[in-house]
């Protein structure tokens, strides 16, 4: 795919690779430095695999002291640094800098402590999301945020991206579930943000760093909030004749005072793809489906389920089914969680979007996406974290057909623009990364971007940390704005822009 680096965002340095490697070897074992293209190949992209660049060097420190020394060296030599966890991110946030060091936290895999009395776990950043819940389970506790990639994605990356998941509405994003952090600054200093209390003195730097996409520092330790495992979790599956009716039912559920643990919606194309892939038990002629999960005390869940079921019927559900047992419940969810790979089976390639919209605008947004789909000649499957308005349209395309990839990208750009227009945002949980850096110019004004840049400069005045990601330069925006804002006066009018 066609990401564009911008000259204003490239950090130039003059140091030769062999010299730099020699300096690294003074404190880092040679095994933990990769500099041959074939060794670095696995690091050339993250979960957004259409964007690829070979890094200049890969380092794999094993201790905080080593990571500090790497940062100090990069800082001294003016070399860019891109931190990387498991590389499951979907916005190119861990895409390497071609002249920079890729700092992998893959060797920081220890769970340092679990404190059941205070419901907290202290972990290194390379610990996998699911591993935290697995380790806490013996104490009857778990870690709530559950991004779809939770088998593989790591806590450090979750904090950097402020990852979500299907349980956000009730339990919050990563932000609401992080209690403390250790952060390395670009000059190798270690900062402790947070105490053992629920709040902290001074500014809320935990909030500032969470979701900062590796632009402010490198996370080397995280203290997470754990929750007691609910006594019961139960799931309803409700089928609707169209997505508009399903949307109204979702609003009614929330309006009635229920806060489901999960509230997900899928459209017809996504339902059929998922059903064909893993036989989740979805009716494959349905045009819209809602999964609604309640958890908590068994008596509470029973009351909530009854209320939700009534609402679904009142709002025209063709069918409402409760998972009869835990196996069936897991099957219902497996279909939803496998929606992306399922769509991957019916199309050679797909491009996953991540906008959030005020839910009341859902019907018109979906109508417009359908219109755009016809205009671009590409199909779209929609999965939707309905409870919190986070929409994932999956654009189906074939990278082998010339031009189709670029078509998918401009279709995606139109969807993001639409999200902003209806009062939403260009990313609910996947981050800006490299992917949506141009759209940042649409969502924020020059003064707002300048404020972001001023914050960035407090932490990293030379702009060495993850350059060219998440935060566009004003020059990029000036050029992007010139291309996009003045419709009818586009440069290169001979080009087809659909």
């Amino acid at each position: 795919m066609s990401y564009q680096e911008h000259a204003a965002e490239i950090v130039v340095h003059a140091i030769e690779k062999p010299t730099f490697v020699r300096q690294l070897k003074q404190f880092l074992s040679a095994d933990n430095i990769l500099s041959e293209p074939e060794d670095m190949k696995p690091y050339e992209c993250d979960g957004l695999s259409a964007y690829r660049t070979l890094p200049w060097l890969v380092t794999l420190p094993e201790t905080i002291a080593e990571a500090q020394a790497i940062l100090r060296l990069c800082h001294r030599q003016g070399v860019p640094v891109v931190a990387r966890g498991a590389g499951t991110g979907l916005s190119g946030g861990a895409l390497p800098a071609a002249n920079g060091v890729l700092l992998s936290l893959a060797k920081f895999t220890r769970i340092l402590s679990i404190d059941p009395a205070n419901r907290r776990a202290c972990v290194q950043p390379g610990v996998r999301n699911l591993a935290v819940s697995e380790a806490a389970a013996v104490f009857g506790l778990y870690y709530a945020p559950d991004p779809s990639s939770q088998i593989a994605c790591t806590i450090g990356g979750n904090v950097a991206e402020n990852s979500g998941g299907v349980h956000c509405l009730k339990y919050g994003l990563t932000l609401q579930n992080v209690l403390a952090l250790k952060l390395l600054t670009i000059d190798g200093e270690i900062l402790t943000l947070g105490t053992e209390g629920l709040d902290n003195p001074g500014y809320d730097l935990l909030a500032l760093v969470t979701g900062s996409e590796g632009l402010l520092g490198v996370i080397v330790e995280v203290t997470l909030k754990l929750l007691p495992i609910p006594e019961t979790a139960a799931t309803l599956l409700a089928v609707f004749a169209d997505i508009e009716k399903a949307g109204a039912a979702v609003a009614a559920i929330i309006g009635s005072g229920l806060i489901p643990a999960g509230l997900e919606m899928m459209d017809g194309l996504a339902i059929r793809a998922a059903e064909a892939f893993i036989a989740a038990g979805y009716p494959d002629d349905a045009e819209a489906l809602i999964l609604c999960e309640m958890d908590g005390l068994t008596v509470q869940v029973q009351a909530d389920l009854a209320k939700a079921e009534n609402i679904f019927h009142a709002y025209g559900a063709l069918e409402v089914r409760q998972a009869l047992n835990d196996n069936e419940r897991k099957k219902f969810w497996a279909g939803r969680k496998a929606a992306f790979p399922a769509v991957g089976r019916i199309s050679p390639d797909y491009y996953c979007m991540d906008g959030t919209i005020p839910r009341r605008r859902l019907a018109e947004v979906l109508k417009e996406i359908t219109r755009l789909s016809r205009e671009f000649g590409l199909s779209v499957a929609n999965v939707f974290h309905a409870g919190d308005g986070n929409l994932h349209p999956l654009i189906l395309y074939d990278a082998n057909k010339p031009g189709e990839l670029e078509l998918a990208e401009s279709f995606g750009g139109q969807i993001l623009r639409l999200c902003i227009e209806v009062g939403g945002t260009i990313t609910g949980e996947h981050g800006i990364g490299m992917e949506k850096i141009n759209q940042m110019c649409l969502q924020f004004s020059t003064a707002e971007l300048r404020q972001f840049l001023a914050i960035k400069a407090v932490f990293d005045p030379q702009g060495l940390l993850n350059p060219g990601k998440a935060l566009p330069s004003l020059r990029r925006c000036a050029e992007f704005g010139a291309l996009h804002v003045h419709h009818g006066h586009l440069p290169y009018p001979e080009l087809d822009r659909f």
Binding site: L175, D204, V299, T356, E448
Partner: protein
Amino acid sequence: MVICPIPNSTDFNVKLLPHEQDLSEFLREQVQTAFANKTPLAIQGSGSKSFYGHPVRGEPLSVSRHRGIIRYEPTELVITARCGTRLSDLEDMLAEHNQMLAFEPPYFGADATLGGAVATGLSGPRRPYAGSARDVVLGVRLLNGRGESLKFGGEVIKNVAGFDVSRLMVGALGTLGLLLDISMKVLPRPDHESTLLFSMSRDAALTQMNRWTNQNWPLSAASYDDENLRIRLSGAATALARVHQQLGGELLANTEAANFWSDLREQRLAFFQGETPLWRLSMAPAAKTPNVSGSWLMDWGGALRWLKTEQACDSIFREAEALNAHACLFRSTFGSEFQPLPPALAILHRNIKLAFDPAGIFNPGRLYADW
């Protein structure tokens, strides 16, 4: 099939009531002038929380008339209002739709404003179970120290575009920006609430509160006053009946219970009266009582400890630091004081302040005396 109307939807009309106005432009001019003249400003709402933080030397700038709810859609769980909106107006509006600010903001005065609640970042008894002020702030429109009107975050629950400046404002005591409008996540009010009372020792209470939290009982508040442990439970009537049956304890009458929790939040309980300095310690919920002589009251299931003591400030800050907790002299005849920051963090704070407010005009000295 007939589609029913969506229950609880407001279709909120943006209209200004007689006492409401949009002073964004006026405030922007004031800040721009102050920036040009380097005039320090003391941002003021209703003044209900002026005791918190250091006194500010600056020209008063009142924001209390920048007032009114801008948007509210219950089915989206989001409300947006101007900073001078009275908390009581906001909570009345939410109550009409059976919703609430789940962090139970303390008022400390009848006219307390939304802006003050966010700038102080204080949260009431429900905080450990339903989230804090910072957890629910979704977006803000603010004036930075150059008088630029900037919008961060938004009116949707999930939004990871750009640094989280909205939440950086929470608890910053107006030292980074002047908050114009604030969007917050709201939650439904629980169907029922009940409060159980148990007499026990302090150590037993600490153990019990944390054990019950771990056992997933639907707690929404837990406080111990060195004699009695009170826990509030929220949920369906059937659920609350089961909890009472299981845990025992004395069931308080509804009015008595409601008064207790609001008196705790508003510091009207007998414990909070008198001239002895009042300290706030934020710490691990199950941690033993710190080694400071004085009288204690626990909130937040043990994560918040109120202390009344005459002991010297330094010794309390040291004790808090040793416990990886933090302390704040909350109220005293000689003002309030925050836990000192480690040097590296103090520099970072100062630089963040400069990034927002290069001329140092917003509430100088309110948070940390030097700036």
